[in-house]
């Protein structure tokens, strides 16, 4: 039987990693992620979790140590945020290129300067192209569930890729929520032991991350691309299996009152929950508005996105990051690219908001939707609009 416990989401993530029976945690504390790795350090120190905890001197070292651990076949976990994710940057590419199934939760945080410990998606967008599987979550239960799924996806013999689970810094990481925890035996059944096929071992030497001259580099990168795209099938199967066992269902793109809606709003992460409140209110007033939530960020769910928005007239995309000097918010750019070749598609309107921890209230979402409809009708000379900036 699952247990329902009121718990800070960061602590719950530590508990999930424990239930996933991790072998190695290498981490460096950074707000707003600190409580995750702090709790894991406690669990190891108290003898409740039999794992090696490597306290490193930086995030660059944290990810490097995770590579080493994953390379010997250990189940490996870490967490970071904001500047920490940036400091890891080059090593993140190595993890995916060497096909090492590291799992990492990222408590999304704004990037400096000015210094901000508060949440937005600028850290996530800066690691868009690193070749990891990337999942966004809306609440604590979703993070916990997707930590289990992340290990199963990462370690699947067809995938063998690192997986990043994004949760909004503070908005999720620091709130106390009632969370359902499965029994250890249920997790064990869902998550078989990690059997990395080519671990580093003196008896059977292998070379990882060796030299790739021009004669072979393109082939290695294409193999990586094919591999990440093919991971989607395993992700879908994993979520289906999770739903069957635990009764909570996940999809690459999720809907809220979107059927028959002429106007759709698209969000990612915890702000989707606030947006749902706004949609409820507007639906109550007879407005034909709905919400589409993008859960699977990489591999990008082209088919599902096209399917989700094809009957709408206006699609308003909210980004929580800027692409300085670029065409729109980064998520919106990708949505536009995915729809460009379609015959039947909505007008896509880009909004950026919720930067550096600034809230967007249900009333805020309502005004974004109303302004989006207005732009849809009258057009706008701007590539995108920023929400809630004092003029």
């Amino acid at each position: 039987m699952a247990r329902k416990l009121g718990m800070e989401v960061s602590v719950a993530i530590g508990e999930a990693a424990k239930l996933a029976n991790v072998d190695v945690v290498a981490a460096y504390p950074i707000t707003p992620q600190t409580h995750i790795v702090e709790h894991l350090a406690e669990l190891v120190a108290d003898g409740e979790l039999d794992a090696a905890y490597i306290p490193v001197e930086s995030e660059h070292s944290a990810m490097s140590a995770c590579l080493g651990a994953a390379a010997v076949g250990a189940r490996t976990f870490t967490a970071t945020a904001g500047q920490g994710l940036e400091l890891m940057h080059e090593v993140l590419y190595v993890a995916s290129s060497m096909r090492l199934p590291v799992v990492m939760t990222v408590a999304n945080r704004a990037l400096s300067a000015p210094l901000s410990v508060w949440g937005d998606h600028s850290d996530a967008m800066a690691v868009r192209d690193i070749g990891w599987v990337q999942i966004f979550t809306e609440n604590g239960q979703e993070v916990v569930d997707n930590v289990f799924c992340a290990f199963r996806i990462a370690e699947d013999p067809k995938v063998l890729l690192p997986v990043m689970v994004h949760l909004d810094g503070f908005h999720l990481s620091h709130v106390i929520e009632p969370i359902l925890f499965p029994e250890q035996s249920e997790v064990d059944k869902f998550l078989p032991p990690n059997q990395y096929p080519l671990p580093l071992h003196p008896d059977k030497p292998v070379t990882m991350g060796d030299f790739g001259p021009p004669i072979i580099y393109s082939e290695t990168k294409w193999a990586q691309e094919i591999n990440l795209r093919a991971a989607k099938e395993v992700i879908l199967k994993c979520w289906k299996e999770f739903g069957k066992r635990f009764g909570r269902h996940y999809s690459p793109v999720e809907y809220y009152h979107s059927e028959g809606a002429k106007v759709l709003l698209l969000t990612m992460g915890s702000f989707s929950e606030t947006a749902m409140t706004a949609i409820d209110k507007m639906r109550g007033e007879g407005r034909e508005v709905g919400l589409v939530k993008l859960r699977l960020w990489r591999p990008f769910p082209f088919k599902e996105i096209r399917q989700a928005v094809r009957n709408a007239e206006v699609l308003i995309v909210l980004d929580r990051a800027l692409s300085f000097g670029g065409p729109a918010g980064p998520v919106c750019s990708e949505i536009k690219a995915a729809l460009y070749g379609e015959d039947k598609k909505p007008k896509v309107i880009s909004f950026v908001g919720g930067l550096g921890g600034r809230d967007i209230t249900p009333a805020g979402f309502e005004s974004i939707i109303n302004r989006g409809i207005e732009i849809g009708q009258k057009g706008s000379e701007n590539e995108f609009e920023i929400f809630g900036v004092r003029d």
Partner: protein, 97 residues
């Protein structure tokens, strides 16, 4: 490796391009980077082995007569051996072919 590197397709590559054959770097012909090649006047050689010690590639060994000579499969032609040889046995000449 079953095929030469230049014939491998992306489908031939294993997981993460992990190399499962130990010591396969020895198949890599670093000698084709060379623009100069060492030639020897062994009549001056005192067999001190300084060239072997200084060679950054580790490609200098003793031939049948005990003289020190570079393996041109690996020698990158850096000329350090010619510079360090105390009896001027080694001269670097242009690779022209």
């Amino acid at each position: 490796m079953t095929k030469p590197e230049g014939e491998l397709t992306w489908k031939d590559l294993g997981i993460g391009s992990i190399v499962t054959e130990p010591g396969s770097a020895s198949q890599y012909k670093t000698g084709d980077w060379r623009s100069q090649r060492p030639i020897y006047d062994f009549s001056k050689c005192i067999k001190c082995a300084l060239c072997q010690i200084f060679c950054p590639e580790g490609c200098i060994g003793q031939n049948a007569e005990g003289y020190f000579e570079a393996d041109l499969f690996y020698c990158k032609g850096c000329g350090i051996c010619a510079r360090e040889c105390p009896t001027w046995v080694i001269t670097m000449v242009e690779e022209e072919e």
